[in-house]
Structures are given as C-alpha cells and as structure tokens.
C-alpha cells in the first residue's frame, strides 16, 4: 500500500511576521538618477519631491530605506524594485 510522505512545509517564524521590515535600495553607478526617481514614483507611489529625495540619499549615502512595514509587503516591494532592475533588499528593522 502506498504511503503518503509528509510534505516539507516551511512556515515563516511568527516573530518574523510580527516584526517591522524595511525595504532598502542600494546605490549602483549604472542606474540613471531620473530612472530611479521614476521607479520610486511608480512602485512606491512617492511624489516627485519625495522620490528625488530618496534617490539622492541612495546616490550620496549608498542606501536609502524607502519603506517599512509587514514582511509580506516588503517582499512584494523588493520584487517590484528588482523587476525595474534596482538593487533592493529587505531587512528586519531594529527593535526599539
């Protein structure tokens, strides 16, 4: 008689789901400043001014935290930023 194997289901740790996660965009010398600004406006819904501020932060400081909140949404934003060829990562925000 055939037996069913127990599927290997991985679940996210509850502490991961409860934590605040940040989306970080990293500098790269190839992406155009105007293009990065456009992507911030499109993906994150930023105003032109806010998008330019974050773009300049990426350019001058090497990285900018562009969003923070739930892990699922952070993963979605990182995926969308990657689809526009930006270097983006998510990281757990430090606990206060």
């Amino acid at each position: 008689m055939a037996t069913l194997e127990t599927p290997d289901i991985k679940t996210k740790d509850q502490s991961d789901l409860d934590s605040v996660w940040s989306v970080i965009v990293h500098n790269d010398p190839v992406n155009l400043m105007s293009y990065v600004t456009l992507v911030f406006r499109r993906v994150l819904g930023f105003s032109k001014q806010k998008a330019e501020r974050h773009m300049l932060e990426v350019h001058n400081k090497g990285r900018s935290m562009v969003w923070s909140g739930s892990r699922e949404q952070a993963e979605l934003y990182v995926q969308q930023l990657h689809a526009h060829l930006l270097l983006a990562t998510l990281e757990k925000a430090p606990t206060p």
């Binding site: 790269d28 010398p29 190839v30 155009l32 105007s34 993963e75 983006a88 990562t89 998510l90 990281e91």
Partner: protein, 161 residues
C-alpha cells in the same frame, strides 16, 4: 540627421537613423544574453544581505527569479520586434516606430543592456562618466554603447513621466 517625433497617438517615430546607431540598437540583447555569470548576478540580485535568510533566498530563486527572467526576456523581444519593423529609407538610413505601449519595454531593455555591459567590462564609476576613446577597442566600444543606450533611456524617461 536623426529625427525623433512624438506622434499624436503617443508612439515615437525615429527617422533618419544611420547605420551605426541602428546597429547599436539592434545589438541591445547581446550583452544580456551573453551568459556571463556576473550579468546574471546583477539582473537577479538577492533579496536580502542576511545569509541566515536561506528560506527567503531559496524561495526567491524558485518563485521570483523565473518571473523576472520572463519579464526581462519579454521586454527584449518587444524591442527586437519594433526594430524588425524598421524600414530602410532611400538614403540608406532607417525609420521605425516605438508604440506607446512598448515604452516600458524599451526602458527595461535599455537598462538591462547598460547593466550587463557594465558587468561584463567591469567599468568603474569614473569610467562611466568619461567619453569613450579608441572605438576599435571592444571595451571603449562598450562604453560608447552604454552612452547611447543611456541617452535614449534618459529621453524615454522624460517622455513617460
């Protein structure tokens, strides 16, 4: 002389495109599809810098990267189709149209090509802001191509904004 015109329906007509520029545009796919592992790493970066996030990294590779791969390929194919529709003028130059609905594909394909060329030739930030020199040198030619793609991309950003 190259002329670019935004048509009433939002499409963009490129006319009097000379042979060298047309060739550079037609080779937009080549650096991305070179199979260079550095290009792969840049086009498909990891979603976390934390090595402990192995579940996320595994899921990303299995679930997200294939979608990104398809989307990047579709953009390049859309650009190639627009260029296949180019027609030769009596003076040997070309004209072609980018439909409004293809502008995002052009933005993506141009960006993919620039990122790929930068990885293949390992250009430094300083090199990226200098003019290319002897174009018989493949590296200098790549720098020139990056400049052409960048100029067009910058202009297309201003159009879609």
């Amino acid at each position: 002389m190259l002329t670019i015109q935004i048509l009433p329906n939002g499409s963009i007509l490129f006319d009097q495109v000379g042979d060298p520029l047309f060739e550079i545009l037609c080779s937009i796919r080549e650096p991305v599809e070179s199979g260079d592992p550095l290009v792969e790493s840049r086009l498909f970066p990891q979603p976390s810098e934390n090595a402990d996030e192995d579940d996320l990294l595994d899921d990303w590779k299995a679930l997200v990267e294939p979608d990104l791969h398809d989307s990047f390929l579709a953009a390049r194919e859309s650009v190639a189709a627009d260029l296949r529709g180019a027609q030769e003028n009596s003076d040997g130059s070309y004209h072609f149209t980018i439909p409004r609905s293809h502008l995002d594909n052009w933005l993506s394909a141009l960006n993919q090509a620039r990122l790929a060329l930068a990885e293949i030739h390992q250009f430094t930030e300083a090199e990226l802001s200098r003019a290319p020199d002897d174009l018989s040198d493949p590296r200098e030619l790549a720098l020139m191509r990056m400049g052409v793609y960048g100029t067009l991309q910058e202009w297309l950003v201003s159009v879609v904004e």
